[in-house]
Amino acid sequence: MRMDLKPMMNPKSVAIIGASRDPDKVGHIILQNYIDAGYSGALYPINRNAGSETIVGLKVYKSVLEVKKSIDLAVISIPAPAVPDALEECGKAGVKTAVVVSGGFAEIGEVALQDKIVEIAKKYNIAMLGPNCLGIMDPSSRVDTLFLPTYKLSRPKSGNVSFVSQSGAVGSTVLDLIAKEGFGLAKFISYGNAAYVDEVDILEYLLHDKETRVIVMYIEGVKRGKEFIEIAKKITKVKPVIIIKGGMTDAGAAAAHSHTASLAGNSQAYEAVFRQFGFIIAKDLSELLYFAKAFSTEPLPLGKRVAIITNGGGTGVLTADSVYLEGLELADFSENTKVALRKVLPSLVNIRNPLDLAGDADEVRYDNALSLVTNDPNVDMLIVIALFQTPGADSTVASKLIYYKKKISKPMVVITAGSDYTQTHKTMMESSGLPVYDSPMAATSSLTKLLKYKEYIDRDL
């Protein structure tokens, strides 16, 4: 490993350089966020102009050199020209890692200034993230370097999905969206200009991070192509990596150049690398979340045969169409299943796939259908449609779906769409680890990615 990011992600002590009493200053927000998140380690606000005052009850130091205690992480949010001196002091004080939140480096053409801080980081062996980044967040170790206040950006709960973003804007948007999802966050790492710590170091760290089961990445370009391929070969076999690259088209590439000062590499080469080394490619941010949701909770399917159980005929048909469009197949129920279904379901239900339980389907009817279909050897995965606008569907149906989700070892997802009543049930199911999608395409494309990933890790070279 080139750099150890553990002290950054799980620090026992944090110095906040640029901590301010002014609640509008980035340095104040970061400090406040640490306190709000319930961070339990030592916190040292640093402000060069500080007198003997305190900030939010904590003693302020003029420099990290005054702290005289071991510091795992320094979060630096001061104007760019002052960063080299502050980092130099971190080096002298033996600070292990640093997150440089400040902008004003290579992304605006200040390449020499950026080179200078990289040199300092190397000299003192400081694992430096950024500059020009949001930094990191870890709900379980209560680390939060984001300078966006919690009332503006909701923080996700703790979970098994780690999210790596080169861009701070995409990072904060997706983070805010993840906060609304049922799955939680393991680590968030926004690495900005990638001047020193880059995507390869981050993947290397996440490969070994026990809390991370799924990785979601937004990148605009990689710094070390060959090393990126090497780490990709290792990590995608163990953990699914869902990736989206900004600048995949020529028009986008021009924009990427002026953004995080990154040269968007040739898009075909990137696509080739993603396909060849087992990445799961998302085309837009909603796909990123759909796929993360499925990989976060679902086992990998053993085949492509899908069973659809529905309380709405039309939605069942649309879902069947999506199944075929995505290259999956509708399962053919076994004879045993068919005979047993005929016995337990009312005569108005046609015994076939999609299995339309009709609009008055209640908890009992779902129970009868699911107990048989989940055990059918011809079924590799399940899509259950529960439209809560219907007379029969209520919380007992949602509970029944959760019950089967916990019981079976096949992928199972739910499609439901609607307003407040539906959303309540969606939240109920998602927080119990049952992925819910609002459209057939979202559900089927996510299942397809599970299958493709399974094929990748099983492939025979």
Binding site: G225, K226, G265, Q268, A269, A272, R275, Q276
Partner: protein, 205 residues
């Protein structure tokens, strides 16, 4: 540096990549001799470092058979090639009919050598149907590259053609890596039911 055609062909031979029978001909007589040796129609191409696109420069004449036609074609081609002197004239056996495929390679700054396969001929530009991988590729990668093509059923009409192409892609990947080739165009490659022939070669080291 552009590799001279016959040397490029020899390099392909070394890797077991089959290319169409070719020879430089210095006059009409040797062209006629080449034609009777390979049997059947031939193509004549003027090769010059000054003309990167032979067919665009009018330096390719196809499907020539019989001494009289060869004589006429040779004369006409020499006249056209005069503007691109120094040049040499290459005679090639006409490839049989089949599907035109393009196989290529280039050096990517970030990831290194890349390999490409696509539907060739007049369709390259309109359909942009191609697949790319980083070298070296595995057999799995080669199979996936072909399956990724929308035109896979056109390109590989049977298992034999698919196998041949798969092995060929792996050979090309090896050749690119072992010879530090920075640019490669095998275009067209004619794929038949029982195999393929590389018809034109452009290798830059």
């Amino acid at each position: 540096m552009l590799l001279e055609y016959m040397n490029a062909k020899k390099l392909l031979d070394r890797y077991g990549i089959s290319s169409i029978e070719s020879a430089y001909v210095k006059d009409t007589e040797s062209a006629i001799e080449f034609s009777s040796k390979v049997g059947g129609a031939i193509a004549l191409k003027a090769i010059s470092e000054k003309a990167l696109h032979k067919s665009k420069a009018g330096l390719v004449m196809l499907n020539i058979s019989g001494s009289e036609s060869i004589r006429k074609a040779f004369g006409e081609l020499s006249k056209r090639a005069h503007a691109y002197a120094p040049y040499k004239i290459l005679a090639q056996k006409m490839a049989g009919s089949g599907i035109e495929v393009i196989i290529g390679g280039r050096e990517d700054q970030q990831f290194g050598k890349l390999l490409l396969i696509g539907l060739g001929g007049i369709f390259v530009e309109s359909f942009r149907d191609f697949a790319v991988r980083v070298c070296p590729i595995t057999r799995y990668d080669a199979v996936e590259m072909i399956r990724q093509l929308k035109s896979k059923d056109i390109v590989t009409y049977n298992g034999k053609a698919e196998n041949e192409l798969t092995s060929m892609l792996m050979k090309v990947s090896r050749m690119i890596e072992e010879n530090s080739i920075s640019e490669l165009d095998l275009n067209p490659v004619i794929v038949r039911e029982d195999g393929y022939d590389v018809v034109d070669i452009r290798i830059i080291k």
